[in-house]
Symmetry: C2
Subunit: 460 residues, 2 copies
């Protein structure tokens, strides 16, 4: 579509300058010292939407960070697309590992280097500029709404409440989100699933203080040894999680969908090499991609107890702790899984010790159908701009707000991400390829166009 | 023996003043800032021995802290007793938990409160004053040698070398050591066994960096989960250590000795209550006292890996670590056990991970026969001074230098300790009952007397 590429070509440098101005606002949501930056970023977004041609744009204050809402109505009989993004970013530490300052974006080797370059300033700004393109070229084919939050990196709690309070305002036919990655630049993919998550902390207590391991060793149960035994019993020899009831609600993925998912290119050798491991591990009967994409998992994220300094201190530690999280697949409810885990873990405790299980945070998983008008539109759009048909891909990660959208707003989300695994989001030297930034701006108008087509096909 | 009690009664206050002067020297061996205090303490001991009536006393410099040697020869045809003690003490932290200053001894409730009050200044000074008593009352019945080191709390490495270099000088018929505890003031006991010890650190490595547990969870083996599984497999369901070859050399204690050891009073209910545990644990077929006294044990002293801060960080940790120590019984060689453990633990490692096992320190166990002239002498002496026959007691703890004495000097040690479990050695508010200090000074001359008797009985 030449009107798209023409417009991008003409405005290339300005698009980048405008994105850089957004990136320069250090809107780190987890650090209170950056509170004023949250409002600055929200105001920048409001102006961006109005300049692009929104009918209106406003900032909603919340008990947390502000939410930006904007809209443009073309014709109420046409479908409505709701764009979601977030203007908050992760902290930058360890700051000394950054090659260039995290909030002063620079281009190196065709990539934008900065905190937020990808997650999610770079990716969400694609939608702002694509929206501007459609408005300015008179090609916006449907109604559009934008919502941008400032708490994605800290749990989206204000957005949850705000969505519930503004259902009418947010009424839409599909939600489009660019906050995920594709497999590779030459292997575009669309994320069709996210895992849920349930995090807990466990504590095993034995004697009331650390004991001399000479005087008591062999006669008093050691809480660290017991914790190890309890953790060891959480998987069977086939890599299955042994928490009672864990698999009861797990979605059974059809063979057809498994075949479709298997099309995503994957090299086991490269995978092992990149992680520096000799062997992969996991549930018998599933491939590595399936193990993270369509199957749940349990991992210890941290463990501690007793003496961990230099040399020896020969004690029986009074307590031992672990942080355990489970990644969940569709239909597994994270609160129920947390309860099942708690009951199961407590039941494992021998009489020698006391066990405490504390649920931490959690979130539901999400799965997007691959036969919806929105998915088909995304597929067509990505194929046209990238030159290769995208593969559906179930990510092992979690974005809990996506399932909230479905529950509260009753709308499915399309996760059309333009990031790459190598973008180092959350890490020092976050980056985003310039090519994907511009390709994204090219893809979005195509998505709008094909969505309206697919949508009317379905209606007729 | 009235000459003993008379002499003590007359010199009571001076004995205490002299002990206090020794205690006031802050001879903490693990802190280099106290290096000058080590020499001060050694010089104080040299003077103490000469004042008491030693023929000679000298300070041997070593690459570490000085060793004090003193001797008095009565008649070369008589047996020789070698007294061992140490003038170094443990650090005092946490200092704010001390009720009175650690190096300013005070009497409260009939106890001396200070660092070193028991371990080992109080206990070793008993021997100095008993020696003085015998010399001054003309009752020293045999030859005597003293050796006092300043590195007991940090591994006795200079003493090991010094013993090997001075075998002739240290030639003796028995070594007497007061550096252990008795069961209770009304249940005197003599320590007849010490366990050996072998300490190691293990490291389990998986991927080369911490992985996102969403993206990789379920497909990549988690080093913490694997470490837990490996540790869990180190004990069987009967509480036996499963390290291959672990029990091969374990001394089988005769039923007769087990019956004798079982005479030591023990209340399981009080034991559990004092530790705040519901159940004891250990090797099937042995009592709690036997589990620590005559059987070996394996404990994790510390474990760590992954995220241990507040909240969650959902990662698959790249590495997991544990400190593991084994308490050993006679005939188990600590270097061989360390090798067996290393081989066994490495053999447990699945292909998913790499395992590194690093031996830390260790020491041999020790057992003292209960039919030797020296043991009988100690038994008679304690019975006479305390009014109750002492029970033989195998301590679960370790004093590695004792087995070195046997190997290098070819002499058995008698562990006639006057401390109590409640003396809080190594902890804040270390204390030593005044009564045990004076009872000790009363017991030692009796031990000398009966040792000469028992010794000549055996010779004839």
């Amino acid at each position: 579509m030449s009107y798209i590429t023409d417009y991008i070509e003409k405005n290339k440098q300005r698009f980048l300058d405008e994105l850089f101005a957004l990136i320069r606002i250090p809107s780190i949501s987890s650090q209170t010292e950056h509170k004023p930056d949250m409002l600055k970023a929200a105001e920048y977004w409001k102006k961006t939407l109005l300049d692009a041609g929104a009918d209106k744009a406003e900032i909603f204050t919340t008990t947390g960070n502000p939410i930006v809402y904007g809209e443009k109505t073309v014709d109420t009989s046409l479908p409505t697309i709701l764009v979601y993004g977030h203007y908050d970013v992760m902290p930058v530490d360890p700051e000394n590992q950054w090659v260039s300052a995290p909030f002063e974006p620079v281009i190196r080797d065709g990539k934008i280097y900065a905190r937020g370059a990808d997650d999610d300033k770079g990716q969400s700004f694609i939608h702002a500029k694509a929206f501007e393109l459609m408005v300015q070229t008179g090609t916006l084919p449907c109604n559009v709404k934008f919502m941008l939050e400032g708490e994605e990196e800290i749990g989206s709690s204000s957005l949850k409440t705000w969505c519930a309070d503004n259902k009418e305002l947010l009424n839409s036919d599909v939600i489009i989100v660019s906050d995920t990655s594709m497999i590779a630049e030459d292997v575009p993919s669309i994320t069709t699933g996210l895992r849920g998550i349930s995090c807990l902390e466990v504590e095993v207590s034995g004697p009331s203080y650390d004991l001399h391991s000479g005087i008591y060793g062999g006669a008093v149960a050691n809480p660290v040894n017991i914790l190890c035994k309890m953790i060891a019993s959480l998987h069977d020899e086939n890599g299955k999680v042994k928490v009672k009831g864990f698999y009861d609600e797990v979605e059974i993925v059809s063979n057809e969908e498994r075949r479709e998912l298997a099309k995503a290119p994957f090299s086991l050798e490269e995978y092992k090499k990149s992680l520096n491991i000799n062997e992969v591990w996991g549930e018998t009967g599933y491939t590595t991609t399936e193990r993270t994409g369509i199957r749940p998992a349990l991992d210890v994220n941290g463990i501690w107890g007793g003496y961990t300094g230099e040399g020896s201190k020969t004690i029986i530690p009074a307590k031992a702790f672990a942080k355990i999280s489970m990644r969940l697949v569709p239909n597994q409810d994270y609160t129920k899984i947390a309860e099942l885990f708690k009951a199961h873990f407590e039941s494992l405790a021998p009489a020698y010790v006391r066990v405490k299980v504390t649920p931490l945070h959690g979130g539901q998983g999400y799965v997007s159908p691959i036969d919806s008008p929105a998915y088909k539109a995304a597929q067509r759009a990505v194929k046209e701009s990238f030159g290769v048909a995208p593969v559906p891909f179930r990510s092992g990660g979690s974005i809990p707000i996506i399932s909230t959208f479905e529950q509260v707003l009753g709308a499915k989300s399309i996760l059309m991400g333009f990031g790459l695994e190598s973008d180092a989001i959350h890490s020092p030297n976050e980056n985003f390829p310039l090519s994907n930034f511009y390709k994204g701006i090219e893809t979005v108008p195509l998505f709008y166009k094909y969505f309206v087509e697919e949508y009317s096909k379905k209606q007729s």
